[in-house]
Amino acid sequence: MSYLIDLATKNLFRNKLRSFISILAIALSVALVVFVKGLVGAFIDNMYSLHIQYQAGDIKIIDQEYQKKERLLSLNYPVDGFNGGGIKAMEGELKRIKGIKRVIPRIKFGAAISTEDEMIRMMGWGVEASKELEFTNIKDKLVEGRMVRRGQREVVMGADLLKKIGLKVGDKTTILYQTSFASFKGSTFKIVGKIKSGLKLLDEELFYLPLDQAQKILEMPDMATDLLLETDNYRDLEGVLAKVEQLFKDKSADQRYSIIPWDKGYSMIGMLKVGEKIYNGIYIFLVILGAFVVINTMIMIVKERTKEVGMMTALGVKSKEILSMFIIEGIIMGMVGSFLGVIVGALITKLTAITGIIDYSKAMKGVSGNILMNPIIRPEVDLSNLLYAFILGVVVTAITAIIPARKAAKLDPTEALRSN
């Protein structure tokens, strides 16, 4: 076998320009895969991450009736624990499940602020600030002031919302809302922080207040509208999900609450998952395009070396060894090309990650706040992406090299020896 590898390696130097072009073609397609995968991966991961942080958690627990009317932000169907025992006790039970890192309660409710000209509609999020700071990236988005504190009548608002209502950090504002008993009320809060995230939801539509204050003003003691669970690995929920479902079954709460994993029941996430599969096909297609040059080269090589194949057969080289020799030649081209492609691809991805290549800021202006997407995409250099692109490059080249290699292995030795 070693002589086949030696020979295949030396054969690459027969026509250096041709080998270089083949390697270059593979390198370019692999570099493209690294870059596109880094870009698409960053885009999708970013959307998943924002979706989990601000919408779904790894797993979301909500009342089944609330799920049907989630967009109305109804307070009539809260999560109030097992058999009305409160969310604190429920949190305690949930945290006992191995794999659950954190339980994050939120109360989402509709609210409004009256300015001189108009009534500005908003969404209030009652949150436990410390958990939000750990679970979401809100800390990086606070451009002024600080996050709300438990027990304080204070709010944090988005920069665009503050602009709309003409207030700034340090000002006080009266917020209008409807309690869980449907009575209209108004409460005054101090604005203690400003958020600028590039996300319409955070910048323009919602304000944060401490959970205890939300529970108090909305008359929802020890309740929340959503209970988000953070797990050890959001990509592997099966085990944890089964345990949570079992707990709710044991507590006879399975008929009341919906336990929703982050990737179920959200059309956008479903589309992204389909997109991921389509892109996987595109990556393979990209490398196949590069491999066409290798096939072409290999066909020329086999044609040029027909006589040599005849000679080798006469020397006693078996058909499968001839096949192996040409495939090894393809694999070496694939390996060198893929290695160069991975390096070039990683460099391009790294450079564009620093600058950020696509700015959707303007396009995002008219998009609903429910679509959580960072306006600037920064591709990621991920070791698994590099490995994937390298292996893909080598495997596709090896497979495509089989076609001409088989042709060589099937050559009739006497006819091969007669060829010119």
Partner: protein, 229 residues
Amino acid sequence: MSLLKLQGVKKIYQQGRVEVEALRGIDLEIEAGEFTSIGGPSGSGKTTLLNMIGCLHRPTIGQIIFDGDEIEKLPKEELAMLRRHNLGFIFQDYNLIPVLTVYENVELALRLLGDVEKKEIKERVVNILKSVGLGDYINRKPNELSGGQKQRVSIARALVKEPKLVLADEPTANLDSKTSEDVLEVMLEMNQKLTTTFIFSTHDPQVMEYAKRLLTLKDGKIIEDRKNS
């Protein structure tokens, strides 16, 4: 027992709808150590006969027994192994691998055997190259050699594994008469020194005269089989 025995060997090729009978019943026995030439005009079946003996083709009818093995009964893989261990080939066009040095071209035949130590390979390759007068050319590439030198490399490659039989298809066809004589001298010397059996084809009567046994083919049949005094 003879090294090679052909009994009623016929080879029929299909060319479109026409059947071409390249060999029309060859009966032949070759003893170990012979230095035999196959002569005859172009199209007489010399190359076809060498290909049959070299296990590159199977006869349509008839039997070829090489060193006790009926080769038409052996599967393709075993035929390859038989060629690898027992047969050496010398080609008209030398068929050296251009990216390999003289040493590596010869070494290839030994590396294929798989069970020869690196040290022994080196020893045998250097010795055989010295024997064919190429001791000073081991690191040259084929494109740095003359036609005669290339053919010597080809002879060395065929002999280095010490095969039982060496087949040479018109080994001097591309060489001038002086170089042809040199190459034939080398082959003859190797035949005498190593007692390797040689069968070579040629249509050059001058070259034929080097052989100890002369076979003449015409229209796929042996029309003459004589010893050369």
